[in-house]
Symmetry: C2
DNA sequence: ATTTTTAGTCAGGGGGACCTGATTAAAAAA
DNA sequence: TTTTTTAATCAGGTCCCCCTGACTAAAAAT
């Protein structure tokens, strides 16, 4: 069993990481005056974008189901993304009830750029540390997947199939 | 110079971590039906709570200044926290313009519990990995502090003095 | 040919993070 | 003492995430 004080230490640093990272983000964003360019979160509009980046041309219903959102929420996010010209909506010809959502070039780029950007702080690490970090994160993520699976197996399946695998495709 | 593909790999896992962690959070929260109990973020109301956990009994103005918020935003967050019975407001007797904000027992507990909770996923790591992780996070945080310092030295000072030190007190 | 299911939409709402502007009451400076 | 500064408040706004309820149009089932 792992050392509790070591765990606490890491937990603290993890929280600090979260806080400092966010603050650093705010500051650099303020400086650059990049209004629309927030870090892509796995939430709301970002969630949609990421899901489309993996499988483009899904219907709103599909997106809603996969991302565990209501149809209305999905519609809202999609509409916002349309306004930002990151996705397009078009009626399906096969089934005229359905609306197919597609990434625009800009949307595809945003999804790729914003999410896949390598954070500068990783430059502070050596190759060895990067390897260690990768191993650690792999373990942690596996543990979190387990947790999700325990509470909600169906969600786990959907989740892992869609977005998590996307990232693996991009990075490996 | 570090290996770019290693960096990308880690960057991906970090994003995945963010996504999976949030999803796991949502699920467990939904199960537990804990409505008010979100993870404390270093933002808005959480920011206030954390600052008070370090130095209780600050005035709204002090909080606003330290946390780089407007007086109005600060008031809003404080009022919300009052409604949730996590803090109390009382007029300063020394200077009747000032309002002193204090944590309630529940507030103190929330700040401690919610932020200092050791995430379960750390159980997946060995002692060696915890050490490595600590080293890595220390470096990363230092790098982020540098970044903050570069763009906004004054903020850096305030920030580090308040919240980062809080965490150090708690964990070391 | 109806009824039912499905995909979306509109309307409205709850919370959250922030902000600007205008105003009041109390302390500090002139 | 009068003016100015300071701490807070109210009012109102922007944008974000996310949900329920009510309603249409089109496809599927009966």
């Amino acid at each position: 069993m792992p050392n509790l004080s070591k765990q606490k230490n890491v937990a603290g640093k993890l929280i600090e990481f979260g806080m400092v990272r966010q603050t650093a983000d705010e500051i650099t964003h303020r400086r650059h005056q990049n209004k629309g360019e927030h870090q892509l979160r796995f939430q709301g509009q970002g969630k949609i974008l990421l899901a489309l980046a993996q499988t483009d041309g899904q219907s709103q219903k599909e997106l809603a189901t996969r991302l565990n959102l209501t149809a209305q929420s999905t519609a809202e996010f999609v509409n916002k993304l349309v306004k930002k010209q990151l996705v397009t909506k078009e009626k399906s010809t096969a089934d005229r009830r359905k609306t197919i959502i597609r990434l625009t070039d800009s949307g595809r780029q945003t999804a790729a750029t914003e999410s896949v950007k390598v954070p500068e702080f990783l430059n502070a690490l050596t190759d060895t540390e990067l390897d260690q970090f990768a191993t650690i994160l792999t373990k942690i993520n596996a543990s979190l997947y387990d947790e999700i699976n325990t509470y909600n197996p169906s969600w786990h399946t959907k989740f892992q199939q869609t977005v998590a695998d996307t990232l693996r495709d991009w990075f490996l």
